[in-house]
């Protein structure tokens, strides 16, 4: 089986200081021996409450957070040992879509510039840039005339489309989606989920999808990793986890989905 990304025994500790001159120190295990594998072209969802370490995990996979221990193999290469220039090239293959479409776009940059920036960073030729941007902006359901606007002129769903377009313009292999639809209305949520799914088919993308909403997981993920307090609680195929959860924590998560009437 070919894995696009496999991570082994990732650990990350944060030290929290409290009290007079920060003398009281507490250690928080944000990641505690976490391992996971993502198959090419599939979607892996990471589920957990806030504080479970799911965002730390996502950030550590693109080395935005430096982990203490562990190994990350991306596309057959040891990702953690890469030096800065090689890392830059590799990062082109991993892009991220963020939760908050209001905060993740620079309010003083036009959409054209926002989309251009990743291409400039990675030295894509000026001629192709314009063409690429035009194709991508149309693909996510916006118009070429929108390129001349600023982020505040768009709705939340449209901004998330821009975020997706920016992430995909470098033609990455892996896209990390950190709660991409949590801040959106249900109707917009459905649009964005459908868009992500069709883009996956078209470009053969692999998704790492972080969310706390299990209903979305069922619709988008092939496999699920359930996290709690920095540890992996349960992992497996989506259908199996939903129909036959093994741990009490997963059962509790499933029971808290709104709309499932609890037996009283």
């Amino acid at each position: 089986m070919s894995y696009l990304l496999s991570a082994k025994n990732l650990s990350k500790q944060y030290t929290q200081t409290q009290g007079f001159f920060s003398r009281k120190k507490t250690v928080i295990n944000a990641l505690d021996n976490v391992s996971l594998n993502i198959k090419k072209g599939s979607t892996l969802a990471i589920v957990g409450e806030s504080g479970s370490g799911k965002s730390t995990l996502a950030r550590s996979l693109i080395r935005l957070v430096n982990i203490d221990k562990g190994q990350i193999i991306f596309d057959g290469k040891d990702f953690l040992s890469l030096k800065s220039s090689a890392l830059k090239i590799m990062r082109k293959n991993i892009q991220m879509i963020f939760q908050d479409p209001y905060a993740s776009l620079n309010p003083r940059m036009k959409i054209q510039l926002i989309m251009e920036e990743p291409l400039l960073v990675h030295n894509v030729g000026a001629k192709i840039i314009k063409q690429k941007i035009d194709v991508m902006i149309k693909r996510v359901g916006l118009n070429i005339s929108d390129l001349d606007k600023y982020p505040h002129q768009f709705s939340g769903g449209q901004r998330q489309r821009i975020g997706i377009a920016r992430a995909l313009i470098l033609e990455p292999k892996l896209v990390i989606c950190d709660e991409p639809v949590s801040a959106l209305d249900v109707s917009v949520q459905a649009q964005i989920v459908q868009l992500l799914k069709s883009l996956q088919k078209e470009f053969g993308l692999t998704y790492l999808f972080i969310t706390h909403d299990l209903r979305i997981v069922r619709h988008i993920a092939d496999e699920v990793v359930v996290m709690r307090h920095g540890k992996v609680v349960e992992t497996g195929k989506t259908d199996i986890i939903f129909q036959n959860p093994k741990t009490s924590y997963t059962k509790k998560l499933l029971a808290s989905i709104p709309g499932i009437k609890k037996p009283t």
Binding site: E49, S50, V186, S187, A190, V193, H212, R215, G259
Partner: protein, 279 residues
């Protein structure tokens, strides 16, 4: 008619500079005593404006017309002083973002005390007892009363907001997307808490949300709003299982369900408009 705690008829909200542009366009509905009525709609459908008009907290740039009868008296005709006495006392409201609605430089004890002091003349000692009571009610350890909001989690902050809203035993609680910013597990705790409180205190609730999952958990009656109008209203079972209006149907199809493998269908607005024009 005695059964209704809130009766709204022909409520319109519009900007003062452009009175033709109706943000809320002539809506009429009732909230029954002891029941939970949910308003469902997308952003921009006018559901929050409806809530704010009941509280008489609309922005200065907006104006409203119509009647809002709360326990038989028209809130729109009251002077600001009378309204102020009702607000927080008989009608309370909780907001979507517990992070931004609490004052970060005051302890939660002070903030809860403040809301009680405005409406009652309790002594300092009685106030302390009441705050502890309220924190117990929302399942926060009273030892935490001297904490500042940033020392609490999102769910705890929302519980504090609920404690403040409950401080004067309101008859009507307006909850504007109180769980949208929260995790699913915390969301289900908060919904359960609101359900219990409603029963215990015999409160009526007007609950605003865009999530039909939440609706099916908490609502007795449902109002579906679209572009400032009510497109459908009725008992929750009827709306969820036998929706009549094309918009309600389309909106229901957007909601992901955890049980089956139903495909998500984003709303096709052109198709929807054609369907609505045909009615």
């Amino acid at each position: 008619m005695k059964n209704n705690i809130l009766e709204i008829s022909n409520l319109k909200v519009f900007p003062k500079v452009n009175t033709e542009k109706k943000l809320v366009n002539s809506i009429t509905f009732n909230v029954q005593r002891g029941k939970t009525t949910c308003i469902v709609g997308e952003s921009g459908s006018g559901k929050s404006l409806t809530a704010l008009s009941i509280m008489q907290l609309l922005s200065q740039q907006l104006d409203l017309s119509g009647k809002i009868l709360f326990k038989g008296s028209n809130l729109c005709k009251m002077d600001s002083e009378t309204i102020r006495r009702k607000r927080g006392n008989e009608i309370a409201m909780i907001f979507q973002e517990p992070m931004t609605s609490l004052n970060p430089v005051l302890t939660i004890r002070y903030q809860i005390e403040e809301s009680i002091m405005v409406h009652t003349n309790l002594s300092k000692k009685q106030l302390g007892i009441r705050v502890n009571e309220l924190l117990n009610l929302v399942a926060i350890n009273p030892d935490r009363a001297n904490s500042y909001p940033d020392e609490l989690s999102g769910g705890q902050r929302q519980r504090v907001m609920i404690a403040m809203a409950m401080s004067c035993n309101p008859d009507l609680l307006i909850a504007d997307e109180p769980t949208t910013a929260l995790d699913v597990t915390v969301q289900s705790q908060i919904l359960e808490l609101l359900g219990q409180l409603k029963k215990k205190l015999k409160m009526s609730m007007l609950f605003i949300t865009h999530d039909f999952g939440v609706v099916s958990d908490i609502a007795d009656d449902v109002i579906v709003m679209y572009q400032g109008k009510i497109v459908e209203q009725g008992p929750v079972d009827l709306i969820l299982n036998k929706p009549k209006h094309p918009y309600t149907k389309a909106l229901l199809q957007c909601v992901p369900d955890a049980l089956g493998k139903k495909t998500l269908k984003p709303i096709d607005y052109k198709k929807l408009e054609r369907a609505m024009a045909a009615i």
